[in-house]
């Protein structure tokens, strides 16, 4: 995966590759690359470039969305049941955080057009903090599931009958979490303070860079703390479990008569003769199955909640990688803003990173309902 910085670099940094570039026309902007006729041309080229890059990103994600669509179409009941393991409140929190970050970065682009260096800095640092908060919350979501044995299909060890729904948090990651929180908060605070000190000591560029990194670490810690507070405790889980149990049975009753489910069986019958049999006996077996925990007996014996979580982890994981790439790019913008590179004459990189960040948000806007809000 190309991080945005790789893309931005070519057109935005001055080239000093020797030789006379033959710029004999009008005064020369320090960030005007030699092969462009004008700053406008350079800006337009960069903008078209980033839009194409975003188109490429959309198609990169499209494969995942296609896989999601295919499997949800064929196994809707698995998706409905498995998604109840996801915490809607944490998903909502992350959605709000990302929307706020998008607002901030758009504000920052506007500030760049208006020569407002201070606002570029603050909006981008705010965006960075939001991104880090998002990652902190995601850390809690991921580790909580790993502790429960919920992972991609190959490492899926979750046993519904042993746990009951929504286990109270315990496990290796849960035990490590206080140490992780302490480390991130401590180190983050320390590095942030070093950044502030450096800025005040007239080392503005490195100060803002170090400060941004410190703030990111700090907010990852804060995100973990916030998520831990939102995560229901054991007593709430027990109450939710009772409520969810009923819902599961209802969902399971549905799928016996689900035409899609039957169709999918017919299609796969060539390779899996056993499936035909199970499809044929399904309606009769519904009552017996209803007595068992719902997710344990999906209609296709091979496709189950583990597959849903494979898709969940890959989609959100690839998205998280893009968040990290975005954080690196935003830090780069903060550093260059601190170095006073941007003005209303030259703010291309600010806009390009902003566009990239909007795309990353947009992907989450689709992921959130598809994962957390299924009915």
């Amino acid at each position: 995966m190309a991080d945005a910085a790789t893309l931005e670099a070519p057109e935005t940094q001055p080239h000093h590759d020797g030789g006379d570039h033959g710029h004999d026309h009008h005064e020369h902007h320090p960030f005007h690359a030699h092969h462009f006729d004008s700053m406008d041309q350079q800006f337009e080229a960069g903008k078209l470039g980033i839009w194409l890059f975003l188109a490429q990103e959309v198609l990169f994600f499209s494969g995942l969305f296609a896989a999601y669509t295919v499997y949800r179409y064929h196994h809707p009941e698995v998706f409905v049941n498995a998604h109840t393991h996801l915490n809607v409140w944490l998903g909502t929190l992350n959605t709000i955080v990302l929307l706020a970050s998008s607002l901030a970065i758009a504000w920052g682009v506007r500030a760049a057009m208006r020569n407002d260096r201070q606002t570029i800095l603050f909006t981008h640092v705010f965006t960075l903090a939001c991104a880090a908060l998002f990652m902190g919350v995601k850390t809690v979501e991921y580790t909580h599931k790993w502790d429960e044995g919920i992972n991609v299909a190959g490492f899926y060890t979750y046993d519904e009958s042993a746990h009951g729904h929504g286990t109270p948090a315990h496990g290796a990651w849960h035990e490590r979490m206080p140490a992780i929180i302490a480390t991130t908060l401590g180190v983050g605070l320390l590095v942030s303070l070093v950044g502030v000190w450096m800025t005040s000591a007239d080392r503005v560029v490195s100060g803002w860079t170090v400060g941004s990194i410190g703030l990111s670490i700090l907010f990852i810690g804060l995100g973990i703390v916030v998520a831990k507070c939102v995560m229901p405790d054991a007593r709430q889980l027990a109450l939710m479990d009772a409520a969810h149990g009923g819902a599961h049975h209802a969902a399971h009753d549905d799928h016996g008569t689900d035409p899609h489910a039957a169709e999918s069986h017919a299609e796969t019958s060539a390779t899996e003769p056993a499936a035909v049999e199970s499809a044929a006996t399904e309606p009769a077996a519904t009552d017996a199955a209803a007595a068992e925990p719902a997710v344990a007996t999906p209609p296709d014996p091979n496709f189950g909640p583990a597959n849903f979580f494979s898709i969940y982890f890959i989609m959100t994981g690839v998205h998280a990688v893009h968040i990290i790439a975005g954080m690196i790019a935003i830090t780069w913008i903060v550093a260059r803003t601190a170095a006073n590179h941007f003005s209303s004459d030259y703010y291309g990189p600010v806009e390009y990173v902003g566009l990239y960040w909007h795309l990353v948000d947009l992907v989450w806007i689709y992921l959130f309902p598809l994962m957390y809000l299924i009915h």
Partner: protein
């Protein structure tokens, strides 16, 4: 076409007034460093160059190495098939079959991902696209360099695959075999993933460069057709390659973590993999052939001294092929439980691709009609292309027809078909392009006679290798088998003999070109009399291509070009301004979009 009297009057005109000759000023070559450059400094000036021409030359060397590697694998395949029993690749049946699987897999994967896809766009396109635009460089020179470095990274992964346990999945990495085989699928797919980004970077760069850096006077429909072809290719590269990238990510995850997306044992669907894979890899076929067609569209008018026929049809047909190419991937799954309705639709769409392809072929033929055809080496290759691509294209229709495909699917007919398109099409056009632009890129003329002999050998060898495979296919010889029944032996031996001739031809062509670097006559600025901008700078060009901005004219009007014996090449004759004639052309000025 230029009449002889016109040529005569132009020659008289420049004899009377030499100032009417347009001769580009000569500057230091982009290939050499200023005197006093140290050795390592020199190496670094190549490895980290931002000059699109040097990147193109490095790409050219890289892909030729890949072609050699893939060609050696092809040799292993062909010689193993000399008879139906294990011979070259192993003593026992099992050994021979395992080694054979690896040989054809690496042949396919290396040729596709390392050679054909980057061949024309990344090597020739990189060198000539900015020059055809009269530009100093591509829009993002650093990204261009990153693209080449990524290519090298991907190539290393492939070499590593080759040196470790090899790969035996076929170049398509079909699941579920690719998730269970003991060979090194992970290394190879990571290599392809990296190469994918190399390809995306090149494509993105070219789209932006063509969109934003055309000089004043060069409207879309005054662009050379090479640019139309490369532009269409670049759009496919940007839009199709990411789908392959994510597919390979899923495949890697499937293999390492068992995510159950493609693995039926875990509830996944292996046919979904085929859909994902071909959603990239069918458009990728057009990544391979569109630039080839683009080269032919340049070469044919120049060597017929005649304006290209049906310019806008050729231009639009490139775009049409690019768009239709996205809609036909399903024809690879006619026999993989595809629904009848889907199969019929995909079949119809497949046939529709033949319309723009046919438009191109007929326009090339019409361009040649009544042209003054010169059988220089590039033109010989272009003629070979016409012949071979037509066969390749037409046999594609056999495979697109549902009923026939059931019979021919996974036989040697398919092998012969795509070699006629990919090798008879793309490789031959690549050779046409290399010979056509060699004098410009390296500043030397090669030996015409031997280059043409090589062309003939390649043509004969190619047909001898692959035509028998059509027959084998229709007789039922399946592809990807190390052994066969005696009845197939004659055609297999014909094919292997053809491989030898083809190999000799290719080595001869390479030898002629390499020899020219040492003893070739110095090339004039415009040896063929072409009217596109890349010929309006010195050969080889300087670091920033044009010392003086060239005039943007009609790319296919040859009326003002005449062979000047003093220059050893063609010169452009400008109108006699002293007699009050108005300049027919405007000098290209910097422009903003």
């Amino acid at each position: 076409m230029i009449s002889q009297s016109r040529e005569h009057s132009l020659l008289e005109a420049i004899a009377a007034d030499p100032s009417r000759k347009v001769t580009p000023p000569v500057g230091p070559s982009y290939l050499t460093n200023p005197p006093g450059t140290g050795f390592w400094q020199g190496v670094m000036s190549w490895v980290f160059t931002l000059d699109h021409k040097r990147i193109g030359v490095m790409y050219l060397c890289g892909i030729m190495f890949a072609f050699l590697l893939g060609g050696l694998q092809a040799g292993l395949v062909r010689f193993e098939l000399w008879d139906g029993t294990p011979n070259l690749l192993g003593q026992t049946e099992q050994q021979a079959q395992d080694a054979y699987n690896q040989a054809f897999t690496l042949h396919g994967a290396i040729m596709t991902f390392l050679f054909i896809i980057p061949s024309i766009p990344a090597a020739l396109g990189n060198i000539f696209l900015p020059m055809m635009l009269g530009a100093k460089d591509v829009a993002f020179p650093r990204m261009n360099l990153a693209s080449f470095h990524l290519w090298c990274g991907g190539a290393m992964f492939f070499v590593a695959t080759l040196l470790t346990t090899g790969l035996d999945t076929g170049w398509t990495f079909y699941t579920p075999y690719s998730t269970t085989t003991s060979t090194n699928v992970i290394l190879a797919t990571m290599g392809v993933f990296i190469l994918g980004f190399s390809s995306i970077f090149t494509g993105l760069n070219f789209v932006v460069t063509v969109n934003t850096m055309r000089p004043k006077g060069m409207t879309w429909f005054k662009m050379p057709l090479f640019l139309w072809g490369i532009y269409s290719t670049a759009i496919i590269q940007v839009l199709a390659t990411p789908v392959l990238a994510i597919t390979l990510v899923l495949l890697l995850c499937e293999r390492t973590m068992g995510i159950g997306i493609f693995d039926p044992a875990r509830g996944g669907d292996p046919v979904l993999y085929q859909h994902f894979f071909w959603f990239y890899s069918h458009p990728a076929v057009y990544i391979m052939i569109l630039p080839a067609m683009a080269i032919i569209s340049e070469v044919i008018p120049v060597f017929c001294r005649k304006h290209i026929f049906g310019y806008s049809f050729i231009a639009y047909s490139s775009v049409a092929i690019a768009l239709l190419g996205f809609l036909v991937w399903g024809h690879h799954m006619f026999t993989s439980t595809e629904s009848k309705l889907a199969a019929v639709i995909f079949s119809a769409l497949t046939f529709s691709v033949s319309i723009p392809s046919g438009i191109k072929v007929f326009n090339w033929l019409t361009t040649m009609y009544k042209g003054s055809i010169r059988l220089a080496t590039p033109m010989c290759y272009a003629l070979s292309f016409l012949f071979l691509f037509t066969i390749g294209g037409l046999t594609g229709l056999f495979l697109g027809a549902l009923a026939v495909d059931v019979h021919l699917h996974d036989t040697y007919f398919v092998v012969a078909h795509f070699h006629y398109v990919m090798m008879g099409g793309t490789l031959i056009a690549f050779l046409a392009g290399v010979h056509y632009w060699w004098p410009k890129a390296f500043g030397v003329m090669y030996n015409e006679l031997w280059a043409r002999v090589a062309c003939l050998l390649v043509f004969v060898g190619f047909n001898l290798t692959f035509f028998p495979q059509f027959i084998l296919g229709t007789q039922g010889m399946p592809r990807r088998y190390a052994g066969y029944k005696d009845e197939f032996q004659f055609f297999h031996q014909l094919s292997t003999s053809g491989f030898v001739v083809l190999g000799l031809g290719l080595f001869l062509a390479a030898g002629v070109l390499i020899a020219s670097l040492f003893n070739g006559r110095k090339a004039p600025a415009n040896p063929w009399g072409a009217a596109t901008l890349e010929w309006k700078c010195c050969s080889p060009p300087t670091h920033h291509n044009f010392i003086e901005q060239p005039w943007v004219g009609e790319p296919y009007v040859y009326d003002d070009f005449v062979f000047d014996p003093d220059e050893g090449g063609y010169v452009e004759v400008i109108p006699d301004l002293s007699r009050g004639a108005k300049p027919a052309k405007q000098p290209a000025e910097p422009t903003t979009v």
